[in-house]
Symmetry: C2
Subunit: 205 residues, 2 copies
């Protein structure tokens, strides 16, 4: 394969792009040739944006969300409800929940879920620091917003046990059929759960 490349430098750049998830060698080549057509300044901006991010990135010491400062924007926002903490897997989930504009509490980013298959145990996650936050007081409710997978459920249960001694309400986000989904195409587990966990109909959805 390598012999086909007219340039070692090109081969190297394509190789680096092709390491990214979902980017094959053809796409990598297309992207590299696109960058090569840009001016030097743009290419430097591209390359350095990633290097600078990696060097200077911080994580909030309260919620472990990505941040430019010691304590992130959300944790230091005085208008937010500090008594509710939403536990999520990663920073993308924080952004997903923020996008709903339905939540005005704080977050706690675990950094993953318990997954023995991948060698990820409770000590690899920010669970102890969650317990510390609850122990420090002021938190009335912890919302578990992890993926609806076996690993997510395991992690939910682990956190449930860890927090059982504290005076804190533990909730889990609702699972059910998605808005716009048709019943006949919904899998039976989801449909079953959404019947078991039905809520009172108040005239609006």
């Amino acid at each position: 394969m390598n012999q086909q490349y007219p340039s070692v430098l090109l081969e190297k750049a394509v190789g680096e792009f092709a390491k990214l998830p979902g980017i094959g060698r053809k796409t990598a080549m297309r992207l590299v040739l696109h960058l090569l057509r840009q001016d030097t300044q743009s290419v430097e901006a591209f390359g350095n944006a990633m290097i600078t991010l990696k060097h200077e990135v911080k994580y909030c010491r309260v919620c472990h969300n990505i941040s430019d400062t010691d304590v992130c924007r959300i944790c230091s926002d005085a208008s937010r409800d500090t008594s509710v903490v939403c536990v999520v897997e990663n920073i993308r989930d924080v952004m997903a929940v923020e996008n709903t504009q339905q939540f005005r509490g704080l977050y706690h980013v675990l950094g993953g879920v318990i997954s023995p298959m991948d060698g990820i145990g409770p000590s690899d996650l920010q669970i102890d620091s969650l317990v510390d936050r609850v122990r420090a007081g002021g938190v009335k409710e912890v919302i578990l917003a992890l993926s609806s997978t076996m690993e997510g459920d395991t992690t939910n249960f682990y956190i449930f046990r860890k927090l059982s001694g504290f005076d804190v309400k533990l909730t889990v986000i609702a699972r059910g059929i998605s808005i716009g989904d048709e019943l006949e195409y919904t899998d039976e587990v989801t449909l079953g759960r959404s019947i078991v966990n039905r809520i009172a109909f108040t005239g609006t959805m």
Copy 2:
């Protein structure tokens, strides 16, 4: 939108990725977070590979293909037939033809095709240097291997006129139905051309 990002550095890196063709903001975020999980050395290798390529890339002074040296590997390969020059649009086309392993001559990379709509005229392309190569002698055949589009055809015709005064055979790659294509799904222009340009059947394809 920007306010949703927990970090300006993250926003910047995602923005740079999202400038690439075919990469939306969601994919950009996924790629940046992937890189963020890699060690510092890998991220530096990624960013610097592009910057180094942009700084140090050379183009062969004979055929204008991308190269690490003054004259590219193909042009300096003594085993190749220097009397045949295949004219292509860009370096990806060189690689495409090389991959067929059917061509042992040299290349000439135009850097595009004549496209008045995009403001690309003959002077923006390496056409004069092609004429110079032919004028210098030694070239017996010029193969036009441009895209089968109006712009490609225009460029073919422009080169045809430019080379009309020289003792050089001008050919164009065959157009017809693709190997494996079914006749009923082939567009009529292609099918028509492939009938007009039929070749003698010799028992093998």
